[in-house]
Symmetry: C2
Subunit: 217 residues, 2 copies
Amino acid sequence: MDKHIVFTAEQIASFDKQFRTNLINSVPGVKATCLVGTRNSEGVNNLAIFSSLVHIGANPPLLGLIFRPDSVERHTLSNIRHNQYYTMNLLHKGILAQAHQTAARYPADISEFTETGLNPVEMNGFHAPSVRESAVCMGMLAREELHINTNNTILLVGEICWLQLPAGAVTEDGFVNPERAGTCGAAGLDAYFSVRGEQRFSYAKPGLPLRSDPSFV
Amino acid sequence: MDKHIVFTAEQIASFDKQFRTNLINSVPGVKATCLVGTRNSEGVNNLAIFSSLVHIGANPPLLGLIFRPDSVERHTLSNIRHNQYYTMNLLHKGILAQAHQTAARYPADISEFTETGLNPVEMNGFHAPSVRESAVCMGMLAREELHINTNNTILLVGEICWLQLPAGAVTEDGFVNPERAGTCGAAGLDAYFSVRGEQRFSYAKPGLPLRSDPSFV
């Protein structure tokens, strides 16, 4: 086993800001990451990267995002508050640099689509742009905003209005295989990872041995 | 480009329950996943898998978890409410079957550590057990609980009290490389993935070309 280091709360608080930011953002491992597409009241399309995508529930189909109101992400939140609709577009290997570049602090009247070369698509008149280069895209409707008092961040809960998937990535039982979809995730603020299937198991019950799906990898 | 399929909200609502559950849980791709260790009022150690880990903030260092109150996860939430302290322990290839088995509905007086063969560790008298076989472990203190009205789930926000890392996984700038740590994540309810570094970029600024770190992969 590799040698371990332990950091206490006091040590973490004493680290310089950049070290602590990198450490705490990366310690959970690879995070579900997406490009959030919105449109502002002037009709400008906005695109911003978020690695705080979290599953909230399947019925109704709900996904959450965490917003820091004082950051670059403010355009996204303010557009969603105005318009209610937004999109989530997953990353893959071919668009990592463009996806990362959307984190730059562009003024509100500049579209990150134009600046990065990613292409906006308006899916069947949906009120927010999706990303043509993303294989997995979702149209979302904002349902609820919760204020996190501990650090003044916000959890936005949205409902899936539609989703687009590569046909070859969906198995018979509804599972979307992220390796087949070519989905990438982020760790920390600036590092991107692809994924490789290790094991898929049967439903876990007390006293019952697990079966590992031999066709999975 | 692969052929795409699109599902509407109406189609998603009409799918059979298991298909929809698999679809919606897997569509965001690989999620940050951990084993949550708690202790109940009788002193029994509990361990349960969660793939709803989300970054809330770096200073103070905060991570969130989503709980469905009506599920097997209820023991974990009730223990945290009683005790305030808990641990988060990341997955790696060597413990995937044991980690998945913690999802079985064991009675409250049965320890998932005993049932799965994972070993509890009491880090310096911390009030909740961590997992000896996990390379990345965190001690947590519950800070805030938010009720999500849309589907009656709960966001628990916790602060990192200590964290343990493999020394070789932490780079000079505080970044914890999940590939070097051997961290795995979950997609859907039952599939586990390892990760491979693709690119690490410089800080994004308008008009400035990104640099990709050549030493990253």
